[in-house]
Symmetry: C2
């Protein structure tokens, strides 16, 4: 029996590739980063609320990319932005990064390469992969996404980092150049993401869309992205549920 791929009502095309936002959708950045911040704080003998620090570090992510999206700054890979943001976050927490060995900071910066998968991610991706191309569609750079995949055993077919498209979501080129590398129409590519803003931009670029709820990405007090805020093609509470909805 020949598998019939899911056909998106919004694009009218069968989906060939299901690509995933990673930070928050596939992996739990807050837990992963906080874990390594706690180890860092203990080793440096400084007082830090590890989860608050992870949130603070993450809060500098969008402004840093915005300088690039606006054209104010030339494309700079996410590892570099994370490293700059780490210095700033440390300073705002009263720690002078110049008093910390640079290898220690480089290692802490690599916590973004070692994020744990949500419990359903590996099983869900493996199921979807049986019938669709699977890969990340992330603002992470290739080496970050590759390390993440090896560490969390994410079964990607292909990794197209933001350093390959040379741009950051939610600019349309981030979605369109990714589809082009795959030699697919935008409507043959589905973005699966836990963030409504990402799905909105993907739909505007012509992609199919799936919302995957991650209500604890930002911890127990999360208020944003608890629910789908558009009529996305699919809505699921896990990647395994998304696999079922895709017939995989």
């Amino acid at each position: 029996m020949i598998f019939q791929p899911y056909r998106s009502p919004s694009t009218g095309l069968p989906v060939r590739a299901v690509l995933f936002d990673t930070f928050g959708t596939v992996v739990d950045w807050r837990t992963g980063v906080a874990r390594e911040v706690a180890v860092f704080a203990a080793a440096q003998d400084v007082a830090l609320d590890a989860q608050a620090f992870a949130d603070h570090w993450r809060s500098l992510y969008q402004p840093a990319m915005q300088a690039i999206r606006s054209g104010q700054r030339s494309f700079t890979k996410l590892d570099t932005l994370h490293r700059e943001n780490l210095d700033e976050a440390l300073r705002q927490h009263g720690i002078n990064p110049e008093h910390v060995p640079s290898e220690t900071l480089a290692e802490l910066n690599k916590s973004w390469h070692r994020l744990p998968a949500w419990p359903d991610s590996v099983e869900g991706l493996a199921a979807i992969r049986r019938h669709y191309i699977v890969g990340p569609l992330s603002n992470g750079n290739t080496s970050l996404l590759l390390d993440m995949a090896r560490n969390a055993v994410l079964p990607w077919d292909v990794i197209i980092g933001s350093d390959m498209t040379g741009t950051y979501k939610p600019l349309p080129e981030a979605y369109l150049r990714t589809a082009e590398f795959l030699d697919l129409e935008p409507g043959e590519v589905m973005l699966a993401a836990a963030h409504n803003s990402d799905l909105l931009a993907a739909r505007a670029a012509g992609l199919a869309t799936a919302f995957v709820a991650r209500p604890t990405e930002h911890g127990p007090g999360q208020v944003a992205d608890l629910h789908p805020e558009g009529d996305w093609d699919l809505e699921a509470s896990s990647i395994t549920e998304l696999a079922d909805l895709l017939g995989a």
Copy 2:
């Protein structure tokens, strides 16, 4: 026990990624293309020596890329070059490509996406992957290499197509930009290839090198690349043997 990666005597660095030439080294292009040419000839009711046609089609590969390497033509992906070369090969065999449905030619052109692996490739790559990053370092475009990997079940960690580096081997940028996407020093990357000229260029760019003998790539009468022609770091008669030499 911590695994000790192979250290290249020529680069002095431990190897972190083992990247493979694909056409000829990992997959058997001649058998794969000839098989589909034979089906095409039968369906079109034309007389074609399928293996000779495969050889002829392949012989147009280097000249087509040379126009791009020399700067005479802007970067054009390999799928497009293969398609142009197919028309030329057909004409030289007395077949007017304009008399063949374009979907049929597009399908035949995709034979390069469906090449069979050599018998040792999948097992050897899987073994190496336990301890090293594995991926192609090929002149193929990303979608070609992705289809090839899904069809032949090649267990790549990452696929960096020539459309991502925007250049063709053996230009140094093809090797150097690949290492850059991996955030590795050139000397931490090993090229494994069945072609001495590829290894020569990789070494000049600072990569570690491994020769994998494929004495029937060009059929029973092969005369080139039967033996290593440089003091490459490693020499093997299969990818499984290469895995052993790498301690994987």
